[in-house]
């Protein structure tokens, strides 16, 4: 088994202050490994996005430890966290967050530019990444000239161009129709075949379960279950049935938590 590219141990996170304070995460542990597409599922308000933000070094936990590529984030300031993000993490967002004034190629190249790579090679890499997601013919198109599916593919290219260890996707198919959603998940599953990349996808959509190597369920700020995904099952490995995260008893490995 490969070493975790991102590992969260016993994460507690309070959000807000005073009377409005809520506990978003209650002792969550999760490891994201290279060569694996992990699906994080749970109802609204379950803590998925908070966990994603903490794993992506955008939020710091109130308690607990996060290690990115073996480096602990404890005590890291905003700039150190930003450095970890740009060196080890690629993000894909539900609403794409492309830059409307830049072409597809420049949107992708931006991920390299923030790393300080503004060489001619960076331009070529951006074009290669767009070719990988099937948009070689749209490199000079602006986001508004692309369909939603194409925009999300540009976002995937932007996330992978820097070859980050972890790719974190927040509901990447939520704004897409079924066909485009499946196309995006195929891309991400393809990326996750490389042991150098671990992919974590936050999602509600059960149609994408078949792309997951592992499904982690979260509810009320706790991991409530974890099981192998369809992708693993298709590889012939035994597991429990197709997940139904609320009703089925999940298989618990070394990341505990069935507290319900």
């Amino acid at each position: 088994m490969t070493a975790p590219v991102i590992e969260a141990v016993d994460i507690v996170k309070f959000l807000g202050a005073g009377a409005g304070q809520v506990q978003a995460l209650r002792g969550v542990s999760l490891a994201l490994r290279g060569g694996e597409l992990t699906l994080l599922m749970g109802p609204s308000g379950s803590g998925k996005t908070t966990l994603l933000s903490i794993l992506g070094c955008m939020l710091t936990p109130t308690r607990g430890t996060v290690r990115v590529d073996g480096q602990s984030t404890e005590g890291a300031g905003p700039e150190q966290l930003a450095k970890l993000r740009r060196e080890h993490v690629g993000f894909i967002f539900q609403s794409y967050h492309l830059f409307p004034t830049l072409t597809a190629a420049d949107n992708v190249r931006l991920a390299l530019d923030v790393r300080g790579d503004n060489s001619a090679r960076a331009k070529a890499r951006a074009q290669e990444a767009l070719a990988m997601v099937g948009l070689a013919h749209k490199i000079n198109a602006y986001p508004l000239e692309l369909s939603g599916g194409e925009q999300q593919r540009v976002a995937v290219a932007r996330a992978i161009v820097g070859k980050p260890a972890a790719i974190l996707a927040d509901e990447p198919t939520a704004a897409l129709d079924s066909e485009n959603g499946i196309a995006i998940m195929k891309l991400l599953a393809g990326v996750a075949k490389d042991p150098a990349h671990g992919v974590l996808v936050v999602a509600h959509d059960p149609r994408i379960l078949r792309f997951a190597d592992r499904v982690v369920h979260i509810e009320d700020g706790r991991i409530t279950g974890e099981q192998r995904g369809d992708a693993q099952l298709k590889k012939g490995e035994p597991d429990c049935a197709v997940p139904d995260h609320v009703h089925k008893e999940p298989r618990v490995e070394n990341h505990e938590r069935v507290e319900k």
Partner: protein
């Protein structure tokens, strides 16, 4: 092309109306500053024009003289005392003063008389376009600038009029010798200048000193100051500084010009700051995305400062064009607006500084971005 520059320029161009408003604000501000500082330079040059054109190494003047136009008088014996000082080659008397010019068609207008020794030189008219200096030796001969023909009620060379009841005839005409007070200069001999201004024959306003070949000007100045009482002995540079200081700061004119320039800078800064801030606010999602992607704060600050610099360069170029038109339009007025290479550099630096300072509010706003907000937007 740098991606930072591309992102910055396209952010600006994305909202053309705001971009144009920003540029108009910068142009307005910099043209205002150009006019004020150009006037300052022009004023500074105009008030010293006589000192600049006098042929003297040192000026001897009554103690406390504030500027060239100060009509204080001193005894002409100072001139002879000066001549006795080691190192003094020539001491040329000059008399200045206001007088009334009787316009041939009726009425009077004030003129400023400048009388000097024709043979020795000293302070004689320059830029002659008609007549000659020698012609000023003819009784009643004077030189005036053609700019003032209308004001003096004359048509040109050969015209006659009266000063203090004495007939004068225009025997030389100059071009571009204008007074910032708008009072016409009238050049003549020292004796007639005394007659026109009512100055006693033994009085002078200035003594212009030329030092002997090889003599050290500063040493001669110190000897003159030590041996002549109740006078100031100044180099042309010192006299220029004193005149400028009096007219620009003694009268408050300089402060008013600087205050106008400062106001222009403040207005420009506020306009650019406001538009950069609102532009940043409109693009806050993009900046949050950059931050989420791991960009450093410095990277985002560079984008904003690049926006400010693009504003500065475009605004300055347009303002410089307009400024040159204003400079050309005032070139032949009593108080021209002057543009020098150094002033252009200063104005560009001021524009850049103004725009970069304007970026501070936007930078502060961006610095506070929480990258996690990208998940909720």
């Amino acid at each position: 092309m740098s991606l930072i520059y591309r992102l910055a320029s396209r952010n600006l161009w994305h909202d053309r109306l705001r971009f144009i408003a920003t540029i108009v604000g910068i142009v307005f501000s910099i043209v205002l500053v150009t006019v004020q500082l150009g006037l300052y330079l022009g004023f500074g040059r105009t008030v010293t024009t006589m000192v600049d054109h006098a042929s003297a190494d040192l000026w001897i003047m009554p103690a406390g003289t504030k500027c060239f136009e100060d009509p204080s008088l001193m005894d002409e014996r100072k001139r002879f005392q000066a001549l006795s000082i080691n190192g003094v080659a020539q001491a040329i008397p000059v008399v200045i003063g206001f007088a009334d010019w009787s316009i041939p068609a009726g009425g009077t207008t004030p003129v400023f008389i400048i009388g000097s020794d024709l043979r020795a030189g000293g302070l004689l008219p320059w830029n002659l376009v008609e007549g000659s200096l020698e012609a000023l030796a003819i009784p009643g001969a004077i030189a005036v600038d053609r700019t003032y023909f209308g004001r003096l009620g004359i048509a040109g060379i050969g015209a006659t009029a009266e000063i203090r009841g004495q007939k004068v005839e225009v025997r030389a005409v100059t071009r571009g010798i204008r007074s910032f007070t708008t009072t016409p200069y009238v050049f003549t001999t020292i004796d007639r200048a005394r007659g026109y201004t009512g100055v006693s024959p033994n009085k002078v306003t200035y003594v212009l000193v030329r030092v002997a070949a090889g003599a050290d000007v500063d040493s001669v100045r110190r000897r003159l100051a030590a041996n002549l009482s109740d006078v100031n002995v100044l180099t042309p540079t010192q006299f220029r500084d004193r005149s400028r200081s009096f007219w620009l700061f003694g009268t408050g004119a300089g402060f008013a010009l600087f205050a106008g320039a400062l106001l222009g800078l403040i207005v420009g800064t506020v306009i650019v700051a406001q538009t950069l801030y609102s532009s940043t606010k409109d693009h806050i999602n993009e900046f949050a995305t950059l931050r989420a992607m791991g960009s450093s704060r410095g990277y985002i600050h560079k984008v904003i400062i690049c926006q400010a610099l693009i504003n500065a360069v475009i605004g300055f170029c347009l303002a410089a064009g307009l400024g040159l038109i204003v400079v050309a339009a005032t070139a032949n007025t009593a108080l021209p607006i002057v543009m020098t290479p150094l002033l252009s550099v200063v104005l560009f630096a001021l524009t850049v500084i103004m725009c970069v300072i304007s970026a501070i509010a936007a930078i502060v706003q961006v610095t506070r971005i929480d990258p996690a907000t990208v998940f909720t937007r």
